[in-house]
């Protein structure tokens, strides 16, 4: 009689991997089933043998070489070169940021800050447009909507739809080149 106890449960029990409630259930089955008890005994016996066997496989010569050992135990030293490299990287980054922020063009009207603000305003307006109306069907409609939504952009004229040039294949024009002597006379 094994009840609902599976082989897996018995192995897990022998290896002490069951939850307390599962363990209780298996133990109740072990109390009445000799087959289960034998199974668990065999698993325990096998576990012991595996432990012994794998431990005995450990060869005393299984050690790192002296050189490898020394390398492992040598703490990576603090180097002035590494410190210098990190400091230089931080200094360059800070200098770059300071330079960009102190340029007059960055803060002036129409400068980087202004453009960023304009772009943000445009996006905000467009989102408002999209929430109230349908999605634009053409690029022209999209540009028109952005311009209508943002008077700042309309003024600056930054957003203009440029018509793509017609893809025509023009034949090569051969101009009669003046002679070298004529060029000299010019």
């Amino acid at each position: 009689m094994r009840g609902k106890v599976s082989d897996q449960d018995l192995t897990d029990y022998a290896l002490n991997e069951l939850q307390p409630d599962e363990r209780l259930y298996v133990e109740s089955m072990l109390a009445v089933s000799e087959e289960c008890r034998n199974d668990v005994y065999q698993m325990l016996e096998l576990s012991e043998m595996l432990k012994e066997g794998l431990e005995s496989e450990e060869n005393p010569e299984f050690l790192l070489d002296t050189e490898q050992r020394n390398r492992v135990l040598a703490v990576p030293a603090w180097t002035f070169k590494g410190f210098l490299r990190k400091t230089a990287a931080v200094a360059i980054l800070a200098a770059g940021t300071a330079y960009a922020l102190t340029r007059p063009a960055f803060w002036q009207e129409g400068g980087t800050v202004d453009k960023l603000a304009t772009a943000g305003q445009a996006v905000q307006s467009l989102v408002g447009e999209l929430q109230t109306k349908d999605l634009p069907k053409t690029a022209e409609e999209l540009i028109a909507r952005i311009q209508a939504a943002s008077p700042v952009i309309e003024r600056s004229g930054d957003f203009q739809l440029v018509a793509a040039p017609a893809a025509v294949c023009t034949p090569p024009v051969f101009v009669e080149m003046p002679a070298v002597s004529e060029i000299a006379e010019m």
Partner: protein, 186 residues
């Protein structure tokens, strides 16, 4: 301050090396099948330990070392593609009291045969068996080391142990047949 921190870390790495050098070499060897390569793998594992903060690893050092060692070993043999995983579909200790020298010898022989059988197990079963019975890791820890789910670890371990038991039983039957044949002949 730098000095004392470095000294502390060095002592920590050294104690880890003393404790886990052999088990890790054994484990790496079971994967890479080459002692020099296993040594390199273990060296790499301990070198990586140097780059870690002690506080982050304390409490699960064994698990961390086995995970890193496994990854390094797999990386090392990846080029040769020697590590072939077989799919999973295939799917309170009883003490021996008063063992006589003869029984002890028989047991040693049995363990030696068992170890041969362990080597013939599918790769994933062998891996889990080693982690369980040599590394003394729980299902949960093996799951974290190998990346398998906890349920799968239990399943593979159960399959491996049943597999080994079948092989041991077959050995015992063969021995009996040989013994009986010898008896009959004499």
């Amino acid at each position: 301050m730098f000095q004392s921190k470095a000294k502390k870390k060095s002592a920590w790495v050294q104690s880890a090396l003393e404790r886990f050098e052999r088990p890790l070499l054994q484990y790496a060897l079971s994967i890479v099948q080459d002692l020099d390569r296993a040594k390199d793998t273990v060296q790499e594992t301990f070198m990586r330990l140097h780059t870690q903060e002690q506080a982050n690893i304390e409490g699960h050092l064994s698990q961390w070392l086995f995970t890193v060692c496994r990854n390094c070993a797999l990386k090392s043999i990846k080029k040769e593609d020697r590590y072939i995983y077989v799919e999973h579909e295939e799917f309170e200790h009883r003490k021996v009291e008063s063992v006589t020298p003869l029984q002890d010898m028989a047991r040693r022989e049995q363990i030696a045969r068992l170890m041969e059988h362990v080597k013939s197990l599918p790769r994933n079963q062998q891996d889990v068996v080693r982690l369980r019975f040599h590394g003394n890791h729980s299902y949960q820890e093996i799951s974290q080391i190998t990346g398998l789910s906890v349920g799968n670890v239990g399943f593979i371990l159960n399959a491996a142990m049943r597999n080994l038991r079948t092989k041991i039983e077959r050995d015992e039957k063969d021995e009996k047949i040989i013994y009986l044949a010898k008896q009959a002949a004499s």
